[in-house]
């Protein structure tokens, strides 16, 4: 069985982006590891390297990680030019060394975008995404006595489609992959989740408008429909969500205004 292959080890050359802090210049630094097991995850390989670095009194490579099971969205490395590495539908922490070959040279860089400044080595600040969420990524309902969960039936296919969009882990790979540094896939996933569900209808125009404006303010790029975002997305969120967001935004532009005017009368 593949999972039991403990005997084989690989030699891996790494070129890793090292950057002291926000204001310093960074560069790619070479490292070699001689005994990499194919069953290691990519992050465990970096752990081993870091152990060696600390042993030599050098600073270990700083990188974001937490759950190591592909759901928290912390880990964020660009591996050979691809966010989260060569496998589709995979986060960096789920990428295993069996994907690589003995003797490979792997280039590891941080997620790059104007809106994601590098803090140190491979750690970037992605809090711009939270500010977009705060601008409208919610249903405005306060804790209390909500109606019974079954009060509004929701068709299974709608619930499933909303769930597909809601699977986003906010890792930012879409932004990292996009040649424009656009966050449209991320924003559209949230907009779609609520646009699809009846709970989201009451504030759908306000939501999409505020989230898009905040996205622009955070200096994310525009969408040129290249699709690299969806290809890099570890949760395989589809670009159809972007079309839906475009539609929602247009709807808000054309009809949301009138509604506001009517209410002012």
């Amino acid at each position: 069985m593949a999972g039991n292959n403990n005997s084989r080890t690989m030699r891996i050359h790494l070129k890793v982006w090292r950057q002291k802090d926000k204001s310093s210049e960074g560069r790619l630094v070479d490292y070699t590891l001689d005994t990499v097991s194919p069953d290691m995850s990519f992050l465990e390989m970096i752990d081993v390297l870091n152990g060696q670095l600390v042993g030599r009194g050098e600073e270990p490579i700083a990188f974001a990680h937490d759950c190591r099971e592909g759901i928290c969205g912390s880990c964020a490395m660009v591996i050979d030019g691809e966010p989260h590495g060569p496998q589709t539908g995979t986060t960096t922490c789920q990428l295993h060394m069996r994907t690589f070959n003995d003797g490979d040279t792997i280039v590891v860089e941080p997620f790059r975008a104007k809106a994601f400044p590098v803090i140190k080595d491979l750690v970037t600040d992605r809090s711009a995404l939270d500010r977009i969420q705060a601008a409208g990524g919610y249903v405005s309902v306060s804790t209390g006595n909500a109606p019974d969960g079954n009060a509004i039936p929701i068709a299974k296919d709608l619930a499933d489609a909303a769930m597909d969009a809601a699977a986003c882990i906010q890792c930012g790979a879409c932004v990292a992959a996009c040649r424009n540094g656009s966050a449209m896939l991320f924003v559209s996933a949230k907009v779609s989740q609520f646009a699809l569900l009846p709970q989201g209808q009451a504030e759908r125009e306000r939501r999409v408008s505020r989230m898009v404006w905040q996205m622009d303010e955070e200096d994310f790029g525009s969408c040129t429909n290249m699709g690299s975002c969806a290809a890099a997305c570890p949760k395989e969120i589809k670009v159809d969500n972007i079309a839906r967001m475009n539609r929602e935004f247009g709807r808000a532009m054309l009809f949301g205004q009138q509604r506001e005017q009517r209410s002012e009368d």
């Binding site: 691809e82 060569p86 280039v107 159809d240 475009n246």
Partner: protein
Amino acid sequence: MNQGIVRYLSSTIGRKYLMAISGLVWTLFVLAHMLGNLLIFIGADAYNSYSYKLVSNPFIYIAEAGLVLFIALHAINGISLKMRNSRTKPTLYAVTPKSVKGASLSSKTMIWSGSITLVFLVLHLITFKYGAHYETSVDGIKMRDIYRNVVECFAQPGYVAWYTVCLVLVGLHLYHGFASSFQTLGINHPKLNTVIKRFGWAYSIVVAAGFLAVPFYVFFVKG
């Protein structure tokens, strides 16, 4: 219309709406233009009469103004979005991805295919619209012999080569632009997406091939 709509249209999505709409107008225009060009296969008179009918129609000025407006909107907006995007993504990566995660050639090169098309468009107008004025008459009506301009131009191998390169780029630009416009305008459905994509593919090939048929015909058959 109020201030709100300006805010919407000046957002990154709003500006993409403008790109899509102006792009679609020109997409329709190039098809019509290409179909008109094909009259050359019927003969010089048919070609010249069609041209005469177009330019003698007073509405032509409105149409021309519209086209200029849309292309200006498309170009200025496109260039400024590109500048914005270069700012929002200042550095690319040390390695270019090899696998499926990369973007298509057509989508990555829109700014270049678009810019060259714009240069071509200007030169094209200078060559034909404002080029040498020959006269002819069909059924007693005096009109410009634009047919002669075409034949003269496409007799030159250099011009045919340049024209070919430009039209391939137009096709490439159209290929991404077509499906992309629908996506931008939110016209999208799982059942529709493949159709739009295939149609766009066919459309751009037909348009490019239709335009290219003329110089090839002139150069190889007539020349």
